[in-house]
């Protein structure tokens, strides 16, 4: 029983963290250009200014 007192809050907290992160990602337009993100990995960044 005493384990539950720690484990349940921990489980809920981790779930809330995941939820919070998803909300953050949506607010910052992380899902706006999914195909683009896949393509941008391939860009050769040698001549980019920064």
């Amino acid at each position: 029983m005493s384990g539950l007192a720690i484990l349940i809050p921990v489980a809920l907290l981790m779930g809330l963290c995941g939820l919070g992160f998803f909300f953050w990602a949506m607010r910052n337009d992380q899902f706006e250009d999914l195909d683009g993100a896949a393509q941008r990995v391939l860009i050769d960044e040698e001549d980019e200014p920064s």
Binding site: G15, L16, F23, D35, G36, Q39, L42, D44
Partner: protein
Amino acid sequence: MNAITPLGDAQTQAVISRFAVPAIRCAGCIAKIENGLNGEPGILSSRVNFSTKQVAISHLPELAEDQLKQKIEALGFEAQILADNPLSEEKGSTDKLIRALAVAGFGMMNIMLLSVSVWSGATGVTRDLFHWLSALIAVPVIAYSGRPFFASAAMALRYGRTNMDVPISIGILLATGLSLYETATGGAHAYFDGAVMLLFFLLAGRVLDGMMRDRARKGIGALLKQTAPGAMVLIDDGSTQWVATRDLRPGMRMMVAAGSNLAADGVIEKGSSSFDCSLMTGESEAQPKGEGDLVLAGTLNLSSPVVVRVTATGEDTSLSDIARLMDEAGQHRSFYVRIADRAARYYAPAVHSLALLAFAYWMIVGAGWHQSLLIAVAVLIITCPCALGLAVPAAQVVASGALLRKGVMVKDGSALERLAEADYALFDKTGTLTLGHPVPVNLDDLSLNQKQIALALAQASHHPISKAIRTALQAENIIPARLDDVEEVPGEGMKARWDGQPVMLGKPEKSADHLSSQLSVGSDTVILHLKDEIRPDAAAALARLQALGLPASIISGDNIGSVSRVADALGLAAKAGVSPQDKVEAITRLSDSGHKVLMVGDGLNDGPALAAAHVSIAPGSASDVGQQAADAVFTSASLMPVALSVTVARRTMQIVHQNFALAIGYNIIAVPLALTGMVTPLIAAIAMSLSSLIVVGNALRLNGSAK
């Protein structure tokens, strides 16, 4: 298009403009455009959206949109200025639904963890504690995620109607209330898991529905050409300045280059040219107009540059009449009731009276009001239209995804439902049965050598006729010849030297009644005729529609001569010289005699008819008005997608009906269990997820339906 955002550090304000760049295909294109633009003076930042093939540029207000467009074109990409997409207003609603879905998913998983322990035999204090924890999670989750349903149910009840959301809301609220009571009194059964899971599955259906709408609207938004975002205006001192359409005023003089659209109605002051009015009136032949003639906004200047004095802008143009007609015509369509809501009309009263009867029966038998209420809630939960809520959107999303891969964008689920019901097809001629732009018809008169020269000359020009010749020659895999001293003679054509001889592609010496172009190599001359051709497999597509039980006929604003040519070639009945108003009336007559009309059209003049018909489809080359009024847009040159979408829509409705049958079959097994009081929260949870999975699995069979 100009969202003004204040800049934190700079004193000026940045403006964001968006451009459609359909040619973005790879990572290299992204890098080329972004690196190319970011160095330019006045441009603060640029960002390519690969999924939507758009570029968003944040720049100083001094830079006009057409300058930015030229910069993108200088990098080797064709670009179009994008207006605020009028279809994208509802985008925020899907985001809200996704958030609600995420919260419901979080709640469902955590409550389920606690519930599993309760089902495994937790008793006494542990069970009470777990019920309290579940309540603690469930109440805020239901309050947040249930809002879309509660709001819609409240709206329906306020107008004395009922829809799918009414039984859902009542079921969820009753289950939550009863579970809270059970928890407070230390009872054995709490339905928090069931209520939250129900919300999760139903929200999944709503999110699917919303994503399908957004995807199609984004696709169509990228096609919108925004007929003329503005014009080059001549100022008194002789210089020119770019003026956006909304800032044009009567009396201004616009320079209209060949190949551009008119931004406002006006009178030609200088020059003469032929104009393509096909999107406005349906006339396929180019109209020659000279000084003093009236030209309308939205028409395309085909041959040579002219100066036009603006007489009417914005609301006053000839376009506004059509917009008013469309508003009137589109009103009846809002009366269409979607199949899920039609099902709910019978479903909701049946379920509610069943639950009420169960409650009354157990009260009479003497089970006590607590036990009776528990059973009534179990009936509500088990019959809650979980599978029904998923049955329709899942099938429609899979079907529209399959259609999208074939180049048909369906705007929403109700369009598929209405498409399946259509039993008569009306076609516009220009731009719908025909391609809507001239193509050269006698290329075979040219020798290989002449073709190579013609292509090389056509490539160097942006003139619409050159573009048509270029496209046709490139389709034959012709390699352009190497030319020297290529130059454009305004109003005449392209001139160059090939192998020492002068070559030219331009205006023919004697003009024909249709569009033509003259190629001269040395002293040889060949006239190229351009005509608006019938779409490649129009006859086959019409035959397939006929086989599906949709007889077709033509209704066109063009003159009788050109209409009968097409009508004879395709073997259809036809009506020519029809005004937009008459098109709407023809559709009304057909609907009054019991037909459900499918209208296929592209022009501004078809806009009211597209809005008035039971369901409508427009080609991707259609006017903005046409694409916004239509329920679906197809992008290929072939007409086959029209027949294909009818087939797919009917398959979809078959699957939807199967899903309904499955959901009802499941209820026939589950309801007696609930009525006899044998349903525990565990059984409810298993039944609910199982029926949803079966329905979604059945819908996935539509994936290969568009073949």
